[in-house]
């Protein structure tokens, strides 16, 4: 599996993401600068956390119109796995690949801590190696992670099992329905505020995030194997 980690000016979790793929999975991974225009040849796309363009205007708003974004949208439409973490999630929302928007955290604080997440849907290509309702420990680090959507959108997310992760226990940022991560209708675009790449090795305090990347790899292997044999 060949993975692209998109790098914007202001990305700061790109290296964590890179090493989660390279060392955690032992798979091929490249940094792709935001000014590039093609993602041909990549099997999976990662949009890392950080403060792209200094969060000017709104988090993710300017990155959304970077040169690479048409290629990200194309990859998403083609069904390739696209994972947006933290600022990456914000960019996916701004790009309309996922519904809703981010508001400032309820208490206006930037929160940097490890939280308990509940896996709400393990029937996705990102979460197959988790159990439903399993509690996992994953760090968060954001000032604008207060997920907002209108009630019709929330109902659609709930009815179609598209809420993948929720905060367990105290909701750190005030997000609607305790949402920490959601998936698109087709099931190949996941956005989440918590950082699985920062929990991809026991040395980091938790390796609960590694299974997310292993799930992506497993799905890719199964789908390519199916393609070879069919």
């Amino acid at each position: 599996m060949k993975t692209a980690v998109i790098v914007f000016p202001g990305s700061n979790c790109d290296q964590d993401m890179y090493y989660a793929i390279k060392d955690g999975l032992g798979e091929e991974v490249d940094y792709v600068w935001h000014a590039e225009t093609s993602l041909d040849g990549y099997d999976a796309i990662m949009i890392p956390g950080g403060f792209s363009y200094g969060d000017y205007l709104r988090s993710g708003a300017i990155a959304r119109f970077s040169g690479i974004m048409p290629a990200v949208i194309k990859a998403a439409k083609e069904g390739k796995p696209v994972l947006g973490v933290c600022n990456g999630f914000q960019i996916l929302l701004e790009a309309g690949l996922l519904p809703g928007a981010m508001l400032k955290n309820q208490h206006l604080k930037f929160i940097c801590e490890t939280v308990n997440l509940q896996v709400k849907n393990n029937d996705t290509q990102f979460t197959k190696f988790y159990a439903n309702d399993e509690i996992i420990r994953i760090p968060i680090a954001h000032g604008e992670g207060n997920y907002f959507c209108d009630d019709a959108t929330l109902k659609e997310l709930q009815d179609n099992n598209r809420i993948v992760f929720t905060y367990s226990g105290e909701n750190p940022n005030g997000s609607k329905a305790d949402i920490a991560g959601i998936i698109n209708e087709a099931g190949n675009v996941l956005g989440m505020m918590p950082h699985p790449e920062r929990a991809a090795d026991a040395l980091l305090g938790s390796d609960d995030g590694l299974r997310l990347f292993q799930s992506i790899l497993n799905h890719w292997r199964e789908s390519t194997h199916a393609a070879y044999t069919s």
Binding site: L57, L93, E94, G100, Q106, H107, L108, D150
Partner: protein
């Protein structure tokens, strides 16, 4: 030349924690009659008249300046007078 003044505000249905914090501060300053504070953005654009400015500004706001999931916008177009 046109000067476009764009005002972006949070929708009524969206809580504004910044506004709430500012209101609390105003109350602490004894401005007890302040009932609500909503914080928005003000953006100025200088545009030449080569295209339909109003139509362009609508698109610019929808696509980039405002996030219409959480924000409303309105704008005023003024003729820029050069001295």
């Amino acid at each position: 030349m046109k000067k476009v003044k764009v005002f972006i505000t949070l929708k009524e249905s969206v809580l504004d924690p910044q506004g709430q914090a500012v209101m609390q501060s105003l109350h602490n300053m004894d401005y007890k009659n302040v009932q609500d504070v909503r914080i928005g953005k003000y953006i100025e654009l200088q545009m030449d008249d080569s295209a339909d400015v109003a139509e362009q500004v609508d698109t610019i706001c929808d696509k980039l300046l405002a996030n219409t999931v959480i924000e409303n916008y309105r704008y005023e177009v003024e003729e820029e007078v050069h001295s």
